[in-house]
Amino acid sequence: MYQEIFKKYRPTKDNLIYILHDIQDNDPHNYVSEEAVQSVSEYLKVPVNHIYGVLTFYTMYSTKPRGKNVIRLCESPPCFIKGCDNILNKLKETLGVESGETTTDGLFTLELCACLGLCGNAPVMMINDEFYGDLTEDKAETIINTIREERA
């Protein structure tokens, strides 16, 4: 099932990061499964432990199934000063999960991340590929509710 993805890349180790991105982006649960790692290992002739090393090193990858929508809230100093902790609490409350967890309906995973480079609009979060800036507690709640209605 990963052959379609492999076709796009030559079997050299420097393509590992791309292949993992591609697999994760096409996975319904936003993660790289054990089975996928095994396939990549065979395709690239790279040991499984190396692939896990890479997967767990970079924050954009996950080895655990995640929700349809991955929320990444920035906790770096510029967002911190603008009150990202309050946003985090609001998100936890709205979603009913702690950071790192996925909601039971499988819609959201809440994660914390480092600077997203949109500090002019702090506090900022990313949901999948979309940025949301100038967050307030109300705004964060509205965003979550809108997505919930749209994609439920």
Binding site: D14, E75, P77, A114, C115, G117, N121, M126, Y132
Partner: protein
């Protein structure tokens, strides 16, 4: 060709797009068409106009009016007032005082001269403002050694944080013969508070390409990579578009301008690790490994990507190169300070009246930057300190306000210029809180290779938690200073230091 009486430049950088810039652009075009003005007034996309926290901004030329916080509902009135009746809509104009304080066009802007003035998705716009003249000059009139010398003479220093002289770096790699060499542009911007590279790439991607081309020719590399962090989707799209156009125009590829020189440029995408901003970690990541720094020496200039000589330069550094070639190193050297010529891009954040972006001469003081370009402190707040250089930077207090800021001068005060992020704090902010956030950041981003950084940051985090909870005794602070000093001396790379 159609002649337009006015041009509306709407900023479509990542920040504006997420605030609806694309919809506003579509509405604007529609409204203009409704009034049959679409043949007279041109709507163009451009990079950041340099204002933050001002929503979607747009500039009208030749009127030189800038509107901020534009929403969909404002469009009908804006078109009617400004373009039908010919009187600027004062309600949305960025305040006069603001405009006086923040010159919209600085004479000395080098890196950002085109951002906010041209359409970053059209190569013809860049060519129209003299783009790629430096590349043509370099390739047809200069020898590689002349270019290395010119960059050396210009005194250009790396803008990624360490401030290493760029020409000197190139001169180590240029003479190596008989092997494949590479140029890698470090666009893995992750220093908290820093997004100058994003604005350069979103606002003027061709300038970065031109600089990359010149650098590659100077050191004899036939392949260049631009390593961009995975989160910067718009940068990736804009740069890929720019690369495609450059191939189409024969600026990249085989036997460019009939010189016999071949060059390919490719984009590499990161996966989210602050440490990959360190050049050897970035190289590890390109090879498909964990981004853990390598031993130095050998330096990348001798053994870099796939053990081949590799030049790694920051986006802002490279964006200075075209101007050095077209205008000469003498011209460049007169800007800024003798030790650090040129300009520096700063992002001003926090409790200032007008958070924004500025490109000023090296050596400009913090006071000038805050007062002139940041519009002073926010009403009712007093300056306490500024965190300069991102999370890896240093807090500068009152006494440092008038120090001339460049790599050389700040080093004397044990401070750093770093990436050029300035986070201004007012006197109501608790430094312990900010410090906690900084340490939390490093605790998370430490790659785990060496003990001082891995365990040290964890220990510092515990201490600051203790202090915050009011459980620490007075010597806790001394312990932290002692530990931080040990980390500085023994850490493997600049992250721990």
């Amino acid at each position: 060709m159609n002649y337009f009486r006015s041009h509306i430049l709407i900023e479509t950088d990542e920040a504006s797009v997420q605030q609806g810039a694309k919809d506003i652009m579509a509405a604007l075009k529609q409204e203009l068409a409704k009034h049959k003005l679409d043949k007279e007034i041109n709507v163009l996309e451009t990079g950041s106009l340099g204002f933050f926290e001002r929503g979607v901004c747009l500039a009208v030329y030749p009127d030189n009016v800038v509107y901020g916080d534009v929403t969909l509902n404002d469009i009908p009135q804006l078109v009617e007032e400004h373009f039908l009746k010919g009187r600027p809509l004062s309600r949305l104009m960025l305040e006069k005082a603001e405009k006086k304080n923040i010159p919209l066009e600085y004479a000395k802007r080098i890196v950002l001269e085109n951002s906010g003035n041209i359409d970053p998705e059209k190569i013809t716009d860049y060519l129209g403002v003299g783009g790629y003249l430096g590349w043509e000059k370099a390739l047809t009139e200069m020898k590689p050694a002349d270019i290395v010398q010119a960059v050396k003479d210009s005194g250009l220093r790396g803008r990624g944080g360490a401030g290493f002289p760029a020409g000197l770096k190139w001169s180590f790699t240029a003479p190596i013969e008989g092997v494949q060499k590479y140029v890698v542009i470090n666009a893995d911007e992750g220093e908290p508070g820093t997004f100058k590279d994003r604005l350069i790439m979103e606002g003027d991607p061709h300038k970065l390409l031109e600089g990359t081309m010149i650098a590659a020719y100077a050191v004899g590399a036939t392949k260049a990579f631009i390593y961009i962090r995975g989160e910067y989707k718009l940068c990736i799209a804009r740069l890929q578009n720019a690369i495609d156009q450059a191939y189409e125009y024969g600026l990249l590829g085989k036997d460019i301008f009939g010189s016999g020189f071949d060059l390919e440029i490719e984009i590499e995408i990161g996966a989210g690790a602050y440490i990959c901003g360190e050049e050897t970690a970035l190289i590890e990541s390109m090879e498909g490994n964990r981004g853990i720094p390598r031993n130095k020496p050998p330096y990348p200039g001798q053994e870099g990507v796939w053990q081949k000589p590799t030049i790694v330069n920051n986006v802002e550094t490279i964006a200075n190169v075209p101007a050095i070639i077209t205008k000469g190193s003498d011209w460049y050297q007169k800007i800024g300070t003798p030790e650090c010529p040129g300009t520096k891009v700063y992002t001003i954040l926090g409790d200032v009246a007008v958070p924004g972006l500025c490109e000023v001469d090296m050596g400009t003081s913090l006071r000038t930057i805050i007062n002139t370009y940041g519009g002073g402190m926010k009403k009712g707040s007093r300056f306490k300190a500024a965190l300069v250089g991102g999370a890896a930077g240093i807090f500068l207090g009152d006494s440092m306000l008038d120090v001339k800021m460049d790599f050389h001068n700040l080093a004397e005060y044990k401070a750093v210029l770093g990436s050029g992020a300035i986070l201004v704090l007012n006197d109501a902010v608790n430094i312990v809180d900010v410090l906690e956030s900084v340490i939390r950041f490093f605790r998370h981003e430490s790659c785990g290779k060496c003990v001082p950084c891995r365990n040290g940051n964890e220990q510092l985090y515990r201490s600051i938690k203790k202090i915050k909870a009011g459980l620490a005794s007075e010597d806790e602070l001394d312990k932290m200073i002692l530990l931080a000093d040990a980390m500085y001396k023994t850490s493997f790379c600049a992250l721990g230091q």
